[in-house]
């Protein structure tokens, strides 16, 4: 295969696009985990709901933006209901209990979606204005829609950064991630803060789902795979750290994409083609888990651990 610098750049861009999607999902997960000390396996459900709601509303209204807005509002509502009904009693339970309850929620919602929208996959169309390509470099067209995804993800990251760094809520979030007792001692309405954070995470996951709709198949269980990757991301990034989640998302996205496309030709330079054909994809699919084990070995708390726990 013909590898040149433009090819590498394009693949990097593909990796960043994947990473940005992962970030939108991981951001909520890491906040909920870091601040409320809750493992939420049902986070992937919110991503899925976002995609479904967006696709349905696009079909009904014909407008992509309305669809995205509806997805965010809908998942936000679903997220808040989930928080109020099932998570409130869960905060003080063990991680094992949390894993099981949220796993149960995932089963429930995956099946609910199949009942409501049917078992076959749905497909959303890319809005006409974004269906073309833009030359990122002369003679290197790139899908406009994917550039929009990257832009949206980076905007969301900047928004979160500003929120966490410069607002009162952000201060509470930072304080909560490093020292929960302190925040409680400040007399903050901790329940309200939790609901807010959970809603924020739900909205971001829904945004990711809505954006993924026009590219991927919208189907029950589509959140499961993303959830596992998002868990990997937040563990690598350091639980509770938005900055860590962002860097780890991009890292995982690019490592996965480059691994998938470059490992086989790379191996072929020093192994036989047959061996490279075997080993390349095999290592590529395990790459991010190897990366995680490697990082955890040297930094057991991830790349950006909150200072005090």
């Amino acid at each position: 295969m013909n590898i040149n610098i433009f090819f590498l750049l394009e693949q990097l861009l593909n990796g960043v696009q994947f990473g940005v999607m992962l970030f939108l999902i991981s951001a909520g997960l890491t906040l909920v985990f870091g601040i409320m000390n809750l493992i939420n396996l049902a986070h992937g459900v919110l991503y899925m709901l976002g995609a479904y709601i967006c696709a349905s509303v696009i079909q009904a209204s014909g407008s992509f933006l309305v669809g995205v807005a509806a997805a965010i509002v809908g998942s936000l509502a679903a997220g808040i209901v989930i928080e109020l009904v099932t998570f409130r009693p869960l905060y003080r339970r063990t991680h094992l209990d949390q894993v099981l309850v949220t796993f149960g929620l995932t089963l429930f919602f995956n099946e609910l979606v199949r009942i409501i929208w049917g078992p076959t996959a749905l497909y959303a169309a890319v809005p006409a204005a974004l269906s073309g390509q833009i030359d990122i470099l002369p003679g290197a067209p790139y899908p406009t829609y994917r550039l929009v995804i990257i832009g949206t993800g980076i905007l969301a990251a900047v928004f979160l950064y500003a929120l966490v760094s410069y607002t009162r809520i952000g201060m509470l979030i930072r304080a909560g991630a490093s020292n929960r007792v302190m925040v409680e001692a400040l007399g903050v309405n901790i329940k309200l803060l939790y609901t807010f954070i959970f809603g924020l995470g739900a909205a971001l996951a829904a945004l990711a789902g809505a954006l993924a709709g026009p590219i991927l198949a919208i189907e029950s269980g589509m959140g499961n795979g993303m959830l596992i990757l998002a868990l990997v991301v937040i563990v690598i990034g350091g639980i509770g750290s938005i900055r860590g989640a962002f860097i780890a998302s991009i890292l995982v996205g690019t490592v996965d994409t480059l691994g998938r496309t470059m490992l086989r030709p790379l191996f072929a330079t020093f192994l036989s083609q047959a061996t490279a054909d075997q080993a390349g994809p095999a290592i590529a699919s395990m790459l991010i888990y190897l990366l995680m084990a490697f990082i955890l070995f040297f930094r057991p708390q991830g790349l950006f651990p909150p200072r005090i726990r």
């Binding site: 295969m1 013909n2 040149n4 433009f6 090819f7 394009e10 693949q11 593909n14 990796g15 696009q17 994947f18 199949r114 049917g118 078992p119 076959t120 996959a121 497909y123 890319v126 269906s131 073309g132 390509q133 067209p141 899908p143 829609y145 994917r146 026009p214 590219i215 991927l216 198949a217 189907e219 029950s220 269980g221 589509m222 795979g225 994409t257 998938r260 496309t261 994809p281 699919s285």
Partner: protein
């Protein structure tokens, strides 16, 4: 006391499992009803139902019943469903099965149980070759056949180089093997993607940099929708014409529409085939289900008719397996594909057509018949099957 308990238990079990007389023919239909493959499974189910309905609910003068199971596109789930069907439901026939890897997983338990299986989609080369069995028929195709036709067509068109892509599973590998058997140009690359991979952007970038004259792919059902939409979004369509098998058909065209306009497919059937059985079938199918049938509906429809012909031939004596097998081998039905004959390995000998995706009068996209590429084409594995 133990006896009482046993009696109570058995009464309970008898109540829960409905009992049938010997005058019911039970057909187990295992197919993919959920996920991206679900669009194809729906074709299977509706095609079989239509056939049963047109037969007046009877299979060879006995009451006919179709039992469904969703294999979720997972081999292990399909295998478990098949075991339950042959052991608990004690079905007489098994049909359906979209994915070749699922077929390979459930093949042994079904065949070993003595049930007769009439496959209505995937035809992996193992089953056509060494693993062939008198109890197995394919009402659809052997995987290599359609891509062989495409390989021949693209060679005839003097397309000098091609980039191959398929998901990495049994059928994907068969499809590319079949293509390579008949294609004489240069293979720029042969790329297999993970079967559950949702996004192909990284691979699409590779196509642009490899600069082939054309691209040949196999992405069935929902995978095809994803692939072709992403292919169009990446702007590859104008530089790299797309050729495919089982990818741009009536299951995917409603979703991909204009993105596929003018592309080519090869296959054994399309709703555009003009034989009378087919015209009637397509008309009835659209009237009943409101959408355009695809290959899977056609083969499923034929499969149920083949089963009916078998039960008729033995006058409803379901224990006469040999008689039923011999009857199916005769293929005495009005197949919607036109002529149908069975090879020694019980796979079809049939025509493979070139189809072009065009916009129909009603604004939808269909596969228009262009020409016959390989006439009365048998598969390449029949010689490996010991059956005569």
């Amino acid at each position: 006391m133990n006896g009482k308990l046993l009696a109570a238990l058995s009464a309970l079990c008898l109540m829960s499992s409905t009992s049938y007389g010997a005058d019911t023919v039970k057909i187990g239909l295992i197919t993919t009803l959920s996920g991206p493959g679900g669009v194809m499974g729906r074709n299977h189910r509706d095609g079989a139902n239509l056939a049963l309905e047109q037969l007046g609910g009877k299979i060879g003068n006995l009451k006919g019943e179709i039992i469904y199971a969703d294999d979720e596109q997972k081999p292990d789930v399909g295998r478990q469903a098949a075991e339950q069907m042959v052991k608990q439901d004690k079905v007489d026939f098994v049909t359906g099965v979209i994915f070749s890897n699922v077929l390979l997983a459930l093949y042994r338990p079904v065949i070993d149980s003595g049930a007769i299986m009439v496959g209505a989609s995937g035809g992996p080369h193992e089953v056509a070759g060494e693993m062939c069995s008198p109890n197995f028929f394919s009402a659809s195709w052997q995987n290599d056949q359609a891509p062989e036709a495409m390989g021949k067509y693209m060679t005839d068109q003097k397309i000098q180089s091609v980039f191959l892509m398929a998901p990495n599973f049994a059928a994907g590998r068969d499809m590319l093997a079949g293509f390579k058997r008949y294609y004489k140009g240069k293979i720029v690359a042969e790329l297999y993607t993970n079967l559950n991979q949702p996004d192909y952007q990284a691979e699409l970038s590779q196509i642009r940099f490899a600069k082939p004259k054309a691209v040949f792919v196999f992405y069935p059902g929902g995978l095809g929708i994803q692939f072709i939409k992403q292919y169009a979004q990446a702007g590859l369509q104008k530089d790299f014409p797309l050729y495919s098998v089982y990818t741009q058909n009536e299951t995917t065209l409603p979703a991909i529409g204009a993105a596929a306009n003018g592309n080519f497919e090869t296959g054994f059937w399309s709703p555009d085939l003009k034989n009378p059985a087919n015209v009637a079938f397509v008309k009835a199918f659209r009237a009943k289900y409101g959408y355009m049938p695809a290959d899977y509906a056609a083969s499923s429809y034929d499969a149920v008719n083949l089963i009916d012909s078998a039960v008729k031939a033995v006058n409803g004596d379901l224990s006469d397996k040999k008689g039923m097998i011999a009857a199916i081998k005769q293929a005495k039905i009005h197949s919607v594909r036109g002529d149908l004959k069975f090879n020694n390995n019980h796979f079809p000998i049939e025509n493979f057509y070139l189809f072009k995706i065009v916009k129909a009068a009603d604004g939808s996209y269909i596969r228009k018949e262009e020409s016959v590429v390989l006439a009365n084409h048998g598969d390449s594995y029949a010689s490996k099957c010991p059956m005569k």
